[in-house]
C-alpha cells in the first residue's frame, strides 16, 4: 500500500480494495475542495496532525459536518494496518482484511468520541488501538456465533444488537417491537437444560412454541404500543427465524457508505453550504505556538514518567507487558512463555496496569494541577494504553 504524503490528499482520499488488496486511492472532490479552502486561510504550512486536531474540534461542535469524513479519510492507513495486523493473528481465513477494514471504519465515531485532545497523544495512535480492539472483538464474536446453532445464537445477543439487526434487515419499528417481544418470550421459556453445551441448542419442541405463543399473547397488551393480532406458534417460529437471519447478516455489513467517495461536484457550481464553513477564529487560536509547545512538552513529560515507571517494574511484569503489547501474542502463547496458566494472564496484566494507572493518575494530578474524576481517569487509562502500545511497538 502506498501511503499518502500530501496534506490535502490525506484528508480527502479513501482507500479502495481490489479484492483483499490495496487498490489505490479515490478522491472525494467535496473534501478536496474543503481542505484547499481551509489551507488557503492560513499562511503557515501545517502538518497533518495539526489538521487532525482541528477537524476533531470541529467534529465535536458539529458532528454532522464534513469534519467526520475528513477524519475518516485521515485514518485510512491506520485502519488498514489495524485490519491486516489483527487478522493475521486469527488463524481462520474466512474473514478478509477488507471486511475488517469496513467494519472498523464504520465505527469511527467510537474513535472520535473517545479521543481526548487534552491528554491523548495523537489521534492516529488512539485510533490504531481502538480499531484493533474493535476488529479483534468482532472476529472473536463472529467465531463464537458461527459455531452456534440458530437457537443458541438467539440467546447470545443483546437487545440493542437484536434491534439493530432487525432494523438493518429493513423491518419497521412496530414490526420490530413484536419480534423483540416474541424473542424475549422465547428466551424466558426456552432455556438450556444443561450447564454447558449452550452452543448447540436444538429447535424448540411444539409444546415449547405453544407456551411461547401463549406468553406472547398475554404480554402483548402491556408491552406493545399496538397489541396487534394473536400470534400462533407458527408465526412465532417464523419471526424467530427472521431474527436469526438478521442477526447473522448484521455482523459484517457489505458496504460502508463512508468509504465510497461521493460523486464529485465538477460542474463548477460550488454550493458553499455543502462544503463546510471554515472556522477562522478557531484556526487562529489553534496555531498559536503556545498551545502546540505546551502539548508537546506534556507528551514528553508523560513519556519520561512512564518510561521510568515501567523500568522499575519487576522483570516478569515487564516481560508480560512486552509479550502482550509488542508481539501481540495470544494469551495461550504468553502463558507458555511465562510458564504459567493461560487464564492468569488477564489477571496479572490487570494488576500491573492498575499500578501504572494509579501512579500516572497521581502524577497527573500533581504536575498538571487537575482534579481527578472518573471520566478523567478513564481518559488517563486510554492514554496509558496508547503509550504502552507505542512504547512496545518501537522497542
Amino acid at each position: 500500500m502506498l501511503p499518502r504524503q500530501d496534506t490535502v490528499k490525506i484528508f480527502s482520499t479513501f482507500l479502495q480494495f481490489d479484492y483483499d488488496r490495496f487498490g489505490g486511492w479515490a478522491t472525494d472532490t467535496r473534501l478536496r475542495r474543503s481542505m484547499n479552502q481551509s489551507i488557503d486561510k492560513i499562511d503557515a504550512n501545517n502538518s497533518a496532525s495539526f489538521w487532525a486536531l482541528y477537524w476533531h474540534q470541529i467534529w465535536q461542535e458539529q458532528p454532522a459536518s464534513l469534519a467526520r469524513e475528513h477524519l475518516a479519510a485521515y485514518l485510512q492507513e491506520v485502519c488498514f494496518w489495524s485490519a491486516t495486523k489483527t487478522i493475521n493473528g486469527f488463524s481462520s481465513s474466512q474473514y478478509t482484511a477488507s471486511d475488517c477494514f469496513q467494519v472498523a471504519i464504520a465505527r469511527i465515531d467510537k474513535v472520535l468520541k473517545g479521543f481526548d485532545r487534552e491528554r491523548g497523544f495523537n489521534l492516529k495512535s488512539y485510533a490504531s488501538i481502538t480499531f484493533a480492539n474493535l476488529i479483534r472483538e468482532l472476529l472473536r464474536q463472529k467465531k463464537e456465533i458461527d459455531i452456534c446453532s440458530d437457537w443458541s445464537l438467539l440467546r447470545k445477543l443483546s437487545q440493542k444488537r437484536m434491534i439493530e439487526a432487525l432494523a438493518n434487515a429493513g423491518l419497521d419499528s412496530e414490526v420490530i417491537d413484536r419480534h423483540i417481544l416474541a424473542w424475549n418470550c422465547l428466551k424466558a421459556i426456552y432455556v438450556p437444560e444443561r450447564a454447558t453445551s449452550t452452543r448447540k441448542l436444538p429447535k424448540p419442541e411444539p409444546e415449547t412454541w405453544q407456551a411461547i405463543a401463549e406468553l406472547y399473547n398475554q404480554e402483548r397488551y402491556t408491552q406493545l404500543e399496538q397489541p396487534a393480532e394473536t400470534a400462533t406458534k407458527e408465526s412465532i417460529e417464523k419471526w424467530m427465524l427472521i431474527c436469526v437471519k438478521a442477526a447473522r447478516s448484521y455482523l459484517f455489513p457489505n458496504v460502508t457508505s463512508i468509504n465510497q467517495p461521493k460523486p464529485g461536484y465538477d460542474s463548477g457550481e460550488i454550493v458553499d453550504s455543502l462544503v463546510g464553513e471554515v472556522d477562522d477564529s478557531l484556526l487562529t487560536d489553534m496555531i498559536t505556538n503556545e498551545e502546540v509547545a505546551q502539548r508537546s512538552q506534556q507528551q514528553t513529560d508523560i513519556n519520561q514518567f512512564l518510561t521510568t515507571l515501567v523500568a522499575e517494574l519487576k522483570p516478569e511484569e515487564q516481560k508480560l507487558l512486552e509479550l502482550y503489547y509488542s508481539l501481540g501474542l495470544k494469551q495461550a502463547e504468553i502463558a507458555k512463555e511465562l510458564n504459567t496458566k493461560q487464564y492468569t494472564i488477564s489477571r496479572k496484566l490487570s494488576k500491573v496496569r492498575k499500578g501504572l494507572l494509579m501512579a500516572l493518575a497521581k502524577w497527573s494530578e500533581s504536575t498538571m494541577h487537575i482534579s481527578l474524576t472518573s471520566d478523567i481517569l478513564d481518559n488517563i487509562s486510554s492514554l496509558l494504553e496508547e503509550w504502552l502500545a507505542n512504547y512496545y511497538d518501537s522497542h
Binding site: 486469527f90 443483546s158 440493542k160 432455556v191 495470544k330 496458566k341 487464564y343 492498575k354 472518573s374 487509562s381
Partner: protein, 377 residues
Amino acid sequence: MTTANSAIFNPTDLVLELDQATIDRAWSLSQTAGNPTSRWQNYLNQAALAVFLPWLQAELDNSAKVEGEAWELINGTAIATKGAKLVLIPSEAEDLSELRVSQEWIDIPSWTADYYLAVQVNVDAGYVRIWGYTTHQNLKQGDFDRRDRTYSLTDDQLISDLNVLWVARELCLDEVTQAAVEPIAELETTQVDSLVERLGNQNQLLPRLAVPFASWAALLQNPQLCQRLIAARRGEPAKTPILKWLKQGLSEISSELGWRQLEISLEGSKGNDTLPNSGLAKKLTIANRPYELKILPLTEAGEWRFELCCLTPGCTIPEGFKLKLLTADLKNFEGNEDVASQAVNQLTIDVDLEPGESLVWQVEPNPDNYQQEILQF
C-alpha cells in the same frame, strides 16, 4: 471444555476462568430454583459470583462479601466492598454493546448501589469477563425501557477499564455515584397476601412485569416479604427466623405473619446475655375457638419450650388434640409430640436445639389457615 479463540481480549478487560469444578458447583446450587427460567438465571449469577468474589477478595479487599440477591426474581448480585456497593450484571450476550439493568436495582432505595458491572458469562468457552462499568447516577440518566423495566447504557457510555473504579475510590473521594431515588410507599397489609399469592404462583412466568412497579417494589424492598415471595415461587414453606426476631425484635411484617413478642422472666438466668428474655406467640383458631402457640426460651441456652394453650378464660384443650414438632425435612424425633389423652390446660414439648437448627410445628386438628412454617433457631 474448548476455549474458542480464547486468544486475546482487550487489555482493559478482566477475564477470569470459569473452570469445570466451578461450573458443576454453580449448576448444582442452582437446582433449588423454582422453575427452569429462574434456574438458568440463578446458575449464571452463581457462576459469575463464584469467579469474581474470590478474585476481589484476593486482589483488593478480603472482607468483600455478597450483600444481596433475589435470583429467583431478578438478574444481578450485590457485593459490598471497601465502603462501596457493586452490582454484578451477568449476561450471555456475545456483543458487548449495552449494559441493561433491571429497574429494581435503580429505583428501590435499599437496592441501589454505587457501581454496576457489565459481566459477560460464556459457560462453554469457560470464562467470565468484566468489560465495563458505570454508576447509579449514569444509569438513572440512561435509556429507560418501560416494556421490560430496565435502564440501559451503550458500550461507549461505560468506563471500560475496571481499574478506574478502584483508583477513583482512592483518589476521587467526593465523587457522587448515586442519584436521588424516591421512597417506595409501603403496601397496605390487606394487599400483601393477595399479591404474594398471585405473584408466588408458578404459572406467572414474569412476575416482575405482572403488577405496577410501585406494588412490586414495595414487596421486594421488604426483606421478609421478598423471602416469602421467593419461597412461594420455589414451592417451599416460609421460614421464620426465631432467634433473629428475638434478638432484633419483631418487625411489622412478623406481626402480619401472626407472631407477637412475649415478655417473660426467666428464673436463674442471672443476666446471661445470650439468653433471650422474650418469647413468641401466635394465635390460632381451631374449630372456632381461639388458642395460642407459644415458643419460650428456657434457662439453658438452646432449650426451648413449645406450648399450646387455649385463650378463652376457663377453657381447656379438648381430648385428642395433638401438638407436634418435626425436623425441617418433616421427620419425627424422640419426644416430638404431646397428646391430650384427656382435657388439659396445655400441651407442652421441650426441645434442645443446636444453633441453626430448624423445626416445623403442627397441631391436630389443623388450625384455620394453617400454612407450614419452618422455624429457624
